[in-house]
Symmetry: C2
Subunit: 123 residues, 2 copies
Amino acid sequence: MSSTGRGDDRKGIDRELKRGSLELIVLHLLSLGEAYGYEIVTALTERSNGGLEVTDGTLYPVLYRLERSGFVAVRWETPQRGVPRKYYRLTKAGHAELAQLTHEWNTFASAMAQLLRQQPEVT
Amino acid sequence: MSSTGRGDDRKGIDRELKRGSLELIVLHLLSLGEAYGYEIVTALTERSNGGLEVTDGTLYPVLYRLERSGFVAVRWETPQRGVPRKYYRLTKAGHAELAQLTHEWNTFASAMAQLLRQQPEVT
DNA sequence: GCCATATGTCTTGCGTGACAATATATATGG
DNA sequence: CCATATATATTGTCACGCAAGACATATGGC
């Protein structure tokens, strides 16, 4: 699958802005409840009005990283009908990491807000 | 020169968070008035309480990029005493780009804030 | 005189992460 | 039986932040 390919121009900036925040985004979403990959992709598009869209090609590596780091645990579920799903949920370490990343994000966002607030003198 | 090398742990996350926002940061600083590279490095450390620190090895490539894109213009100044300084100032295109990036940053930050506001139900 | 330090700019190389592209499998509707 | 939706996974590319290093000019101390 991999995105619908609608006419995106100017993708460059958002792409970079997302760097470093994707783990936080995913961890936070998982803190709201267990979810599987495809679900996260669609949930993110809806919940953020497209402002935080993520393609599967981006998400799965993130999930893999989080799993390797011990922040999420995995459970396969094979329904009678349909494709098997891989459910992710936060571990204890994941909750701690979420708290840490949230704090760092807030610090950074505050610093940015403070800087951008400064205006040049009007002559 | 290149940083004082004080004992930084956990540099990884901030490094990624800054991605994509550095151009905005620099453009915004320059919108407050002309400045030279070294000045920007120190100004950023002070103005943001270290929250947005940048080393010269990071800044100069950014400035070079901005210059190549036509967002900043350059002026050399050689004082009677002291090392020559390269002053940067915003061009008209630079002001436009600043407005654009500011808007994108605000959109992104809002989306993040909205997402992070959502809490799991307490049972 | 000479060396350390501060001021100032510039360049190379590395690691990492977001993403497009691609592949694969199962189910459903026409 | 073929297109489409659901679902996971991997490979390769590109840009960026930054450490590390190099170079040049001035100043103060010994």
